[in-house]
């Protein structure tokens, strides 16, 4: 394991948080009518998706 324990725990927390955010944005986007709000939410989905992929690589490196 090449990361410090406290970092891994912190990344784990962030991953859990971001996962719920992404789920919420994805499902709630269907419920809104305003186009601009839809755009912002789509952007949030894109950014969160990329961030979660980065977390995946850190977390799988940290696994031992």
């Amino acid at each position: 394991m090449n990361y410090a324990l406290h970092e891994v725990l912190e990344v784990h927390e962030m991953a859990a948080f971001k996962t719920t955010c992404l789920t919420k944005s994805k499902t709630m986007k269907a419920l809104v009518s305003d186009q601009k709000l839809k755009d912002i939410m789509q952007q949030d989905i894109d950014v969160s998706t990329r961030q979660l992929q980065e977390f995946t690589s850190i977390l799988s490196n940290a696994r031992h």
Binding site: E7, V11, E13, F17, S25, L31, S33, L37, V47, E54
Partner: protein, 99 residues
């Protein structure tokens, strides 16, 4: 909110305003959570990723808050106006029939 889904789900109270507010609160918690995480990390690679995410979370927070200001759902500079809006929203939530 989309009227068809509104009728299917019976969630006609879940307006764009509520969704936007939820997004704002999430963005806010995101920034705070990232600030905690950044100050706990020491490995440069992890720190760099978390710092970048923090900046992105800040951008998202900025976008959603200015959107809400524009829509008149968020009165950052007018406390009275904000309080009136809050009270209105509280009432809407309180009077919501639970399914």
């Amino acid at each position: 909110m989309n009227p068809i889904i509104q009728n299917i789900t019976g969630m006609n109270a879940l307006s764009d305003q509520v969704v936007a507010m939820d997004l704002l609160i999430s963005a806010k918690s995101g920034v705070r959570n990232y600030a905690m995480a950044v100050t706990e990390s020491g490995t440069p690679e992890v720190k760099e990723i978390l710092t970048r995410h923090l900046v992105e979370a800040l951008d998202m927070h900025e976008q959603i808050s200015s959107y809400m200001v524009e829509k008149g759902w968020y009165h950052a500079w007018d406390t009275n106006e904000q309080i009136n809006l809050d009270l209105n929203n509280i009432n809407t939530a309180l009077n919501l029939p639970s399914l």
